[in-house]
């Protein structure tokens, strides 16, 4: 069946991302929006858009029944869940299919299998995928978890079994910290995923986070689109991602990618997926988790391989065969993504909110800004504080870094505090430039990443900016927003 109309069950930049590809394919798009999002572009620029009302997320973007109702009313063929929200919710995937729509994603069985960190590890151990030492069992008592932690040896990592995005995750360096860490992890896990089951793992010192992009069709073709390096993280969330991974031999690269394909073919996966690995400094790598959806950072893969991953998602969802062969997929140049957040990196990454007065536009070639906001729209407390993703391609890594730093200057979000300057400090750091990345890069280089003092010339230029901005044309200053019609004035003149 050919998909002619899609409902995007998401918001912001990812809803727009799906919209772009669908438009290219001649597919109509229906979007949804919570009332506090009604001025955002995803609510404005689709073929049709429907309100989800106002209230908690469970009433809006997570409201499965309301989404299905809208899908029926607007007569779509398929539903794209984006990332986050319901994208890895097996019940939703089942409901979509039982309601007669195509789910643009994997089967509910794959989501269940890979969504449970414990279940997925058990399944993958059977097909000889390298696993990190840990405890994934059902005895969740604090006593047992403490005993297992000691057996594995400190430091250990405690994390939510059903987790993602760093929620319910704790690193424990010594036994004394254990009880509080288990309690904290369980509490966060319960709140975020309605499930307080946690697992414990050996904690690798200075690991790199390497992931592999996969795409599978329903005809037994399982492809990889190479790796991404996503080690630069704050609060366990990625903020800089790139591909190809620097400082990695071609031999290791291919080995990791092949391991990832073993997983997708081993579980007979369908659609886009990502295998995340921990790469230890000695070259050993371990399966971390599988994300059964499109990733936030998928654009870097698109930039270096030249393929549209959303297009593949739609094609395989309608049952088409993947038209490319593994040998045709190549990495060309380097792509870097910077996640621009509404936050203050120099104040413990505190999220910020406010009205975006103006969004800057990147001007260099091969630069993409995936952004879900417009000038004049608000960043509120109800959603993730990511404002946009800046994705930059360069013929090599040096060029990509330099272009990224220049583009970060351009893409301002006037009105909200952002991490742009901080991202520039990361990209300009000598260890980043040398490709010496690992997941503690940010805390380990805290001092180097502190803000530089403004130079006197910069201060002078800021004063000049303020002084000239204050000067407003007289007529506008008197009557803000009013425009005088000269013909009316002329009429008035004649009547005097």
């Amino acid at each position: 069946m050919k998909i002619k109309k899609i409902l995007v069950a998401n918001r912001g930049e990812i809803a727009l991302r799906v919209l772009k590809t669908a438009k290219e394919m001649g597919i109509k798009v229906v979007t949804v929006y919570a009332e506090d999002d009604k001025a955002l572009p995803h609510a404005l620029f689709a073929d049709e858009s429907y309100s989800l009302g106002l209230g908690a997320l469970s009433e809006t973007y997570l409201n499965k029944n309301k989404l299905i109702e809208i899908a029926k009313k607007s007569q779509v063929d398929a539903i794209h869940p984006g990332y986050g929200f319901l994208s890895e919710n097996a019940d939703f995937a089942r409901l979509v299919e039982s309601s007669g729509f195509i789910f643009i994603g994997p089967t509910a069985e794959s989501i269940v299998l890979m969504g449970d960190k414990i279940g997925s590890k058990n399944a993958l151990e059977k097909i000889k995928i390298p696993m990190i030492p840990g405890y994934h069992g059902d005895d969740q008592s604090v006593e047992n978890l403490a005993k297992k932690s000691k057996e594995i040896g400190f430091p250990v990592l405690i994390k939510a079994s059903a987790g993602g995005g760093g929620k319910g995750m704790r690193i424990v360096h010594k036994e004394a910290e254990l009880t509080e860490a288990i309690r904290g992890a369980k509490s966060e896990a319960l709140k975020a995923f309605s499930n307080d089951k946690v697992l414990i793992e050996k904690y690798v010192v200075n690991p790199r986070h390497i992931e592999v992009q996969l795409m599978s069709d329903t005809h037994g073709n399982h492809l990889h689109f190479f790796e991404r390096e996503c080690s630069i993280q704050r609060r366990y969330q990625k903020i800089v991602e790139e591909t190809p991974a620097p400082q990695m031999s071609q031999e290791l690269r291919l080995k990791i990618c092949e391991t990832a394909v073993q997983i997708s073919s081993g579980i007979n996966y369908r659609g886009a997926g990502t295998i995340e690995f921990i790469l230890a400094p000695d070259g050993h790598y371990y399966f971390l988790e599988m994300n059964t959806r499109l990733q936030v950072e998928h654009p870097v893969t698109e930039m270096v391989t030249g393929y549209d991953l959303v297009k593949f998602q739609i094609l395989v969802a309608q049952g088409d065969k993947l038209s490319v062969k593994q040998s045709e997929i190549m990495q060309k140049g380097q792509a870097i993504e910077c996640r621009i957040y509404a936050e203050d990196p120099d104040n413990d990454f505190m999220p910020s909110i406010g009205k975006i007065e103006k969004i800057g536009v990147p001007t260099l070639r091969d630069v993409r800004l995936d952004c879900g906001f417009l000038d004049g729209t608000e960043v509120g407390v109800n959603y993730d504080p990511m404002l946009a993703k800046l994705i930059v391609w360069g013929e090599n890594r040096e060029v990509a870094i330099s272009k990224s730093i220049q583009s970060l200057d351009e893409v301002l979000f006037l009105g909200v505090k952002t991490n742009r300057d901080y991202l520039k400090r990361i990209l300009g750091h000598k260890k980043f430039i040398a490709g010496q990345t690992h997941t503690h890069f940010i805390p380990d280089n805290k001092e180097d990443l502190a803000p530089k003092e403004l130079a006197p010339a910069e201060i002078a230029a800021m004063i000049a900016g303020l002084c000239f901005n204050e000067q407003k044309p007289q007529s506008f200053q008197d009557k803000p927003g009013s425009v005088t019609n000269p013909w009316l004035e002329l009429v008035g003149f004649r009547n005097v």
Binding site: V381, P385, L454, E458, A461, I463, G465, L466
Partner: protein
């Protein structure tokens, strides 16, 4: 003429300040700066100091502060005279760093707390933020209940 500005909370004094519609000169830290206005539109001012550059200036907030961005650097700036005094922080008061919801209260009224010990947890932007005591003492006041929404800058608890 001397003129004062406040940049990121610090006083900045410039001397020999002269401004016309199209140009501006002043002396800052012993150096004379000359800027010409090339063009201005919306929030963007194009200036020329021998090398053209763009300054982007946001609307002033209620404290009279504007965000100014030049060459990738951002700062909060205001005229020293215009700036309205900052919200005062109460002695011993722990204020909300951002708007959010009270997720959990960990300490009871009157209980002993150590400096750095969490008193309550604020939830905002899908994250939990611990509000920790700024000194050793007793919890004197907890201003909100679990589930209540709070604005940025309000006092959440007091320790004495």
């Amino acid at each position: 003429m001397e003129k004062k500005f406040i940049l990121n909370g610090t006083d900045i004094v410039v001397k020999d300040f002269k401004q016309s519609a199209q140009s501006l000169t002043f002396n800052y830290e012993g150096k004379t700066y000359c800027f010409d206005l090339v063009t201005k539109e919306d929030h963007v001012v194009i200036l020329d100091d021998g090398q053209k550059f763009k300054a982007t200036v946001g609307s002033a907030n209620k404290d009279g502060e504007s965000i100014v961005m030049v060459k990738g650097r951002e700062a909060k700036i205001s005229y020293a005279g215009q700036r309205i005094k900052k919200h005062k922080t109460h002695a011993g008061g722990l204020t909300s760093p951002m708007p959010g919801k009270i997720f959990k209260i960990l300490k009871e009224l009157g209980s002993e707390v150590k400096k750095g010990e969490p008193i309550l947890i604020l939830e905002a932007m899908k994250m939990e933020h611990s509000i920790c005591s700024d000194k050793d003492g007793k919890v004197k006041k907890i201003s909100y209940k679990v589930g209540e929404l709070v604005q940025s800058g309000v006092t959440l608890a007091e320790v004495e």
